[in-house]
Point group: C2
Chain length 258, copies 2
Amino acid sequence: MKTDDEVKDFILNGYREYVPHVSIDCAIFGYHEQQLKLLLIKLKFIDGWCLPGGYIKRTETLVEAANRIVMERTGIGNLFLQQFKTFGDPNRARINEFDEELWFKATGVKVSKDNWLIDQTISIGFYAITDFSKAEPQPDMMSEKCKWFDIDNLPKLEFDHEEMVKEALHTMRVQLYHYPIGYNMLPEKFTLTEIHALYETLLGKKLDISNFPKKLIALGLLKKLDEKRSIGPHRSPHLYMFDKEKYNMAIKEGVVLS
Amino acid sequence: MKTDDEVKDFILNGYREYVPHVSIDCAIFGYHEQQLKLLLIKLKFIDGWCLPGGYIKRTETLVEAANRIVMERTGIGNLFLQQFKTFGDPNRARINEFDEELWFKATGVKVSKDNWLIDQTISIGFYAITDFSKAEPQPDMMSEKCKWFDIDNLPKLEFDHEEMVKEALHTMRVQLYHYPIGYNMLPEKFTLTEIHALYETLLGKKLDISNFPKKLIALGLLKKLDEKRSIGPHRSPHLYMFDKEKYNMAIKEGVVLS
DNA sequence: CCTTCATTTTGTAAATTTCACTAAATAGGA
DNA sequence: TCCTATTTAGTGAAATTTACAAAATGAAGG
């Protein structure tokens, strides 16, 4: 949605192209220098921060929709998005608090109370993790701001999005043991210390340094390279990279890390 | 829905009481004598077996809806239902194959192609496990038959319900290591052999008998009673029961069995 | 009272994980 | 050139967990 006309058409006639009553919300985690971050947006017509979300086109699968939504809202694409839970409490969206004035000011469209967007909505939660330094978020027409926040210093979130973040974090941490999700957060070639720090940050706890890489290597996921990296007056660490083939298999079929 | 009139009203005006475009489908696993079973229904207006499913009332939470749906369709209540995945492929429901004739014959209502029930639907999957001998399934108005099937001898299922069963089974087995789901499938007091057989059946693999109880007891989940059960000309096994308090905590917060 | 047999416990070897410690590598500075 | 601070990487003993086998238990029936 780039133009005012497109926004207007979406609000008035969107129910033809999109499935009403169902939305997708995405918890995009970002990793940078041992800090876990979360991408939040501030919509024009909602007074507070929330997860980037949107509606599903009638021709899309859920994952396709989730990817498009993140791309539209934030400019970040090509994520490995994972469903974590669907939220449907009748009170979750707090339709009662719908503010006609605010919507008009933000969109220039008179939205009546029987508009398809104002009805009860059930939301499917997706999460992804990405290297946040690679992705500079860019808000679109509907969103005013789009920003990374430290995971342990989030602002108050709208609707039931705090619960969503909690669930997303929990699912991400469980799945970290079953899928090699770390791929996108690291440079192509990385050291054991880097991947170790990544996993500790994502899990939010200490991991044994000497055993941890062994498992990844034993599974064939990690390949040791002949190169080293120079890090000043210290021993140079070896560089590693993922075995693309084994990695893709593991993403598809799952492995057991722990 | 007990009467024809109620069915008719549901078909024609249900969108007022229920959230359109979203449904719930439930994989109800049953355990009996070391066999894992699945509850399937045969709807009047669909030519084949499928998971019991239904729509969500605008006043219900998702779990409440899932419980009501299972109760209405099968007569089985009070289940510990767990969400496992939401399905939204645009082709999953195969609306094109909608058979007006069959619907009319089954319900006595002329259903047009623009009826709310015929539109694209996204379905939220729930699963539960129950002691199948306790629950005699009873089909309702809309369902013709309702029957338990051995898990490794299922009939061909409609829509995407085969994939749903696969996912439900997978989630159930993963969660079995993190939550003591076995509660409802056993009598209040049970022997080690019984709970051991239960876990082996649910997981579909062998578990070591000598190490298995140690974990449950070490976690404090299991209490040894002073009673024994008489089983003929053999050593009488001790009876155990779950520690209700620890059990509830484990259900809420999760534990690690393996 | 002795046999039978499923239950339950015990024992032990193998495998795995944990943890502390040591060795190796590096480049700047003495 | 050699020493030092610092970080990576490997080693092996100790602790724990798992796998498997065998023995002990005890209730009923002959």
